[in-house]
Symmetry: D2
Subunit: 337 residues, 4 copies
C-alpha cells in the first residue's frame, strides 16, 4: 500500500473540524494523526469523535509528534501568520486558511519563513476546487471567452456574525474573510493583477459594527492591469440564504457560475413556485472542501506545486487592504504590488 | 366616443418610429396626427407606411398643426433639451426620450421652460412600465423587502454602435444613453437619492472610442443618502445578447428582475441545453414601450401627474455626469443635488 | 390605403371578446364591423365598449350585413358545427374556435359545407402562433432534432369550471376543450398521425363531475403511425396556476417549450426563492391570440392557405373521441382516420 | 470504538464497484471485508485497487469468510434472486440491487427465503436517498400537497446499451432496469398501490432490439387504488444526456424534482446560453448511492427496519411485469397484488 500523508489539524472550530473529518474519512491517501486547539478540551473531544488517538493544546506540542508530515491551519484569522512561520520552521508542509494574515506586514513575515525553510505552502482558496468554478476556468483557459472584459462576483451570507465575533478582534472584517474569496477569484479567472480598487460600504442596518471599523455590505470596483474592470459585492447578512455567484464577460463569450438553490426540488403553490435556497458555505462548498483536501495531499505526496500559493494569498490580501483603505477614506486606492 | 389625444412624434429613427407605430395602432385613446424629422423624406416615408396624412421636416412646422395636443421627442440626444424648450413654449404636453440633455446646464434650461409654461412633461424611463420591474416595485412599496441595503443592476448591449455614431457627437456616451436607465431605476426602486459615485471604465477591446472620451464597459459604485450602496455595470458590446438585470437586497428580503432568454424554448443537445438569448431592447421591452405610451396618453387625458418627471430626468443625468467625472479623474464624485 | 378585411365576431364571451378587441385595436389590416351574441344585450354592450356601431342577436342577422367578409366563431362548443355550416353557406371566410364540434358526425357535416361552398376555413389552434412553439417548430422542420421519438405535453388550468358549466351541456369535456390543444400539437410537431390512444382519468378530488361523464385530470398515451410514442396530461384544477409545457425527444436532439412564470421577477425570501406563476390562458397566450388574428386576416387578404385546416380540426377531434372511449372502456382505442 | 459492520460486495461491475468504493472509504461504520465476482480476476483487481485483502470467485466462498455480516448483491439482474436465497440461507443481512428478479415467481421464491431465515433485506431503490427526492417526500408526508392527483416521472439515459447487453439475456429490459425506479417512486411518493397500467413502446430508431422483446422508449399510464393517475416515460438513448425528473400534482400544491444540469455554470454565447447536461447515473446520484450505503449499514447496526423492503421490490417488479404485458398485447393490464 501507498505511504499515507500524516496530517495534523490546528484549530478545530467549525472549519478545522470539517477539514479533520474529511481527512479522517474521505481522503484515502491521508491519515489524520492529530488535532490541536488552544482549547485543549475541544481538541480532545474532536479526537474522540473522529476516533483518532492524539490531541494537543498547542501547535508546538503537535509539531513534536513524529507521524506528522503536514499541518492544516484553521485557527482564528489573527493566528494564521504566526502559525505559518512556526510550521515552516518545523519544516512541515501546510495549508493555511484564508486570509493569510490580517495585515501585509504579517503576511510578508510568514511568507519569508516559508521561503527560508522551503516548505510546501498552500492557501485555502477552496473555490478553485468547486466543480462549477473549475469547469468555468477550464473554458477560460481554453480561450472560449476571448479576452476578459468585466469580472463580477458576489458573496452573501445568511446571518451576520454575533457581536462577540467583532469584540474578540481575532478575525478579519468583511473584506478579509468574505470578499477575499472573490479577490482571489478575480485574479485567478481574469488571469491578471488588480491594480486599483474603490469601495463603498454600509452598516446602516447594523450600526453597532461601525465601532469595530466594519461594514455589513460593500461594493468594490476593480481595475485590472491589462484593462479589464470589475465589481464585487459582499453582504454579511442577506437573510434569505447563502448566495455566491460569479460572472465573467469576455470579448467572445461569457460565463456565469453559481446556484442559489439547495436541492433540485421546486414546490408549486398558490403563492408561486418556491425553491429552497442554500444556507451555509459548508453545504454549498462541501465538494470543494473535500476536493481541496484530496488535492492538497496528492500534491505533497507527488511533489507538485501548490494550486494556490503564498503569493496568491498575499495578493488577495493586498486587494483587501486597499479596499479597506478606499472605503475608509472614500477614494480610489492602489493595490500594493 | 371619447376625445382622442392628438400626438406628433419628433424624430422617426428606430425609437421614434416604434413610438409612432404604437400610437398609430395600439393606443386606443391616441390619434397619431403627424411625424416630423430633420430628414423630411424619412418623415414622409414613415407617414406613408403608417397611413397618416401629415409629415414635417421640422418641429416648428409640426407645432403649427392644429390637431396636435402632445409631442414625443425622440431625436438624437443632443437635440432633446432645445426641443423640450420649444414644445413647452408652444404649450404642448410632451414625453422626452432619455437622456433629458447631455449636460446639466441644458437640462436646467429646458426644465425652466417647462416650469414657466406649465406643460405636462414626462421623461422616457420606460423600464418603470416593464411588467417585471413594475411587479417588483409594488412589492418594495408594500414593504416586503424592508429597508433597501444593496442595489445592483446591469445592462449589456449585444453590438456596440458604429464609429460614425461617435463621430456625429449628437448622442450621449455610455453613461448617458445606457447606464442612465439604471441610474433612474436606482433612485426609483431604492426610493432615495444617490449622493456619491465612483466609476471605472474600459475601452481595452475597442480603443478607438477613447478619442471620443467614451468607454466600452463600466462599473459604477453608488452611495445613497440613507445608507444603501450599489453598483451598476454597463457594457456596449457583450456579443452574446441583450441582457438587463436588476437586484435589490433588502433587510428582510430581496428581488431579482431580468430574463436573459428570448422565448421559453430550450434545446437539449449533445453540447448541453441551449436557450436563445434576447438580442435587442425593442424586443425585450416591447411591452414596456407600449404601456408607456398608453399611460402617457391616459395621464394627459385625465390630468394626472407624469410617472417620471423632469426632476427624475435631471437627477439621473446628474448621476451620469458625476460618473463621467469620476471615471475621467479616477476619484469619488459627489452627485449634484 | 389597403382594403381592410371586414370581420364579425360571433359569441362575445371571454374568448370572443378577446378576438374582438384584438381585431378592433391591434390588427391593422382588419376592421371589426360587428359582434353578435345569442344574448343580444351582451353583444350591444361589447359593441359600445369597443366603439363599433353594429351588434346583433344572431348569426343570421350579422351575416346579412354588407361589410362583413369573415366571421370568427367563438360560441360555446356545441354551436360551433352548425355555425360553421351557416357561415359556409353564406360564402364567408371564417375561423372557428376549437373544438370543431363535439362529435365526429357533426364535424364531418360542417366540413362538408365548407368544402361545398369553397370558403376559407381555419380552426383556432392558436398555440401554433405562440413564439416559443413556433421557434421550436422551425427547428424541427429544419431537421435539428432528427426523427421524433417521444412527444410529451401537459396543460393544467388553475381553477376548474363551475358545476353550471357541466350542467349546461353546451361545452366539451376535458379531452375536447383542454387536451385538444395538445392533440393538435402532437400531430403538428411530430408531423405524423396518431393512430392509437390509451387514457386514464380521475375525478377523485371532484366526484360531482362524474355524473356528466367528465374527469378532473387525465393521462393519454399516444402511438404515432411512423413509430413515435407520446403522452399528454391534462388537469382542470391544478390550483397553483396555469401551466402548459411540451417536450419532443428526437433521435438527435430534444426541445422543451413552456414557461411557468408570469414575469421574470424572483423574490428571495427566508422561505426560499419565490416566482409568481402564470394563472390564465389569456395572459400566457396573449401574443399567440393576437398573432393568430393578424395571420388569419393576412392569409385571407392574400389568398393563402389556412395555417390550421378543417382536416386539422377533425383529426384532433378524432383523437379526443378515441381518448374518451379509451378512458370510459379502459382499453386501447384506435383513432378514426 | 464502535463495532463496524463487515460487508462483502458480490459483483464488481460498475455498480458493485461503486458500492465497494463507498463502503471502503466513505462509510465510517462499515468495513469492506471482501469482494466477489464470477470473474475472479476482476474481484482480485478491485480488491487490490481498494487495498483490501480478500477477493473471491463465488458467493459461496465469500459467505464462508468469518468477518462478513452483510452482503451487497450487485450481479447482473438474472442472478439477483438466486443470490438473495443463498445469502438468506447463510443468515446474513443484505441489500439487493434492483430489480429483485426478472419475473414474479423468482421474486416470490427469494422473498420466501428471506422470510424463512428472518434476515435483514433491503432493495436498492437509491432514489429514495437522493436529497431532492427526500426533501420532496418530507413535504408530501407533512401534507403540504394535499391528496396526490397526478404522478409524472421520466428517466432518460444518454446512450443505449450495446447489443451484446441484449444478447447475454442476463439483464432486464427497459421496464425492469430503468422504469423500475419510477415504479418504486410512484408507490413511495403517492403512498398508494398501482392497480392498472397501460404501456406503449417504440423501437423505431433501433429496430434490432425488437428481436429481444425490448423497446427503446416507452410511456406507461398508471392508475392508483385511491384514484390518482400517472404516467412514466423511459428512454434508453436520449443522446443529449442523463435526465431524471419527477412531478407530483396534489390537490393543494405540487412538487417538481430533477435537475438537468451537471454543474451550476452557464456559458453565454452568440448561439444562446449553454449549460452542460448531466450524463450518467453514477454522477447524478453519487450522493444518493453513498447515503444509501451509510443508511443501510446504520439500520443493520441499530436493528432498524429497511427503508425499501422486499415487498417494495416485489411490487415495483409486478408493475414492470404488467407494463411489459400491456405493451406486448396492446391492452390495459392489471398489476398483480
Amino acid at each position: 500500500m501507498t505511504k499515507k500523508l500524516g496530517v495534523g489539524v490546528l484549530g478545530v472550530g467549525e472549519m478545522g473540524r470539517r477539514h479533520a473529518e474529511n481527512l479522517r474519512h474521505l481522503v484515502p491517501n491521508a491519515q489524520l494523526v492529530a488535532v490541536a486547539d488552544a482549547v485543549e478540551e475541544r481538541a480532545r473531544k474532536v479526537a474522540g469523535e473522529l476516533e483518532i488517538e492524539k490531541s494537543f493544546g498547542s501547535l508546538e506540542a503537535m509539531l513534536e509528534h513524529k507521524g506528522i508530515d503536514a499541518i492544516i491551519i484553521a485557527t482564528p484569522d489573527a493566528f494564521h501568520a504566526p502559525a505559518v512561520s512556526q510550521v515552516a520552521a518545523a519544516g512541515k508542509a501546510m495549508l493555511c486558511e484564508k486570509p493569510l494574515a490580517l495585515n501585509l506586514a504579517d503576511a510578508r513575515a510568514s511568507l519569508a519563513a516559508v521561503a527560508k525553510h522551503k516548505v510546501y505552502f498552500q492557501v485555502g482558496f477552496m473555490r478553485r476546487y468547486d466543480p462549477a468554478y473549475a469547469s468555468a476556468m477550464k473554458r477560460i483557459e481554453a480561450g472560449e471567452i476571448g479576452v476578459p472584459v468585466v469580472f463580477k462576483s458576489l458573496g452573501r451570507d445568511k446571518e451576520g456574525p454575533p457581536l462577540s465575533y467583532y469584540h474578540s478582534q481575532i478575525n478579519g472584517m468583511l473584506f478579509y474573510t468574505n470578499t477575499i474569496h472573490d479577490f482571489d477569484l478575480a485574479r485567478w479567472m481574469v488571469q491578471d493583477e488588480v491594480t486599483e480598487v474603490h469601495a463603498f460600504g454600509t452598516a446602516a442596518i447594523r450600526p453597532e459594527v461601525t465601532q469595530f471599523g466594519d461594514v455589513v455590505a460593500s461594493v468594490v470596483n476593480l481595475k485590472f492591469a491589462k484593462g479589464a474592470i470589475g465589481n464585487i459585492e459582499s453582504h454579511a447578512q442577506a437573510q434569505y440564504g447563502y448566495d455566491v455567484r460569479t460572472e465573467i464577460v469576455g470579448s467572445k463569450g461569457s460565463i456565469q457560475v453559481g446556484s442559489l438553490h439547495r436541492t433540485p426540488a421546486t414546490f408549486l403553490t398558490t403563492n408561486g413556485s418556491v425553491s429552497p435556497i442554500a444556507d451555509y458555505f459548508l453545504s454549498t462548498f462541501a465538494d470543494a472542501y473535500l476536493l481541496e483536501m484530496r488535492d492538497f495531499v496528492d500534491r505533497i505526496l507527488n511533489d507538485r506545486e501548490p494550486s494556490a500559493t503564498g503569493e496568491d494569498g498575499f495578493r488577495a490580501l493586498a486587494i483587501a487592504a486597499a479596499a479597506e483603505q478606499s472605503q475608509a477614506q472614500s477614494r480610489v486606492s492602489l493595490v500594493e504590488a
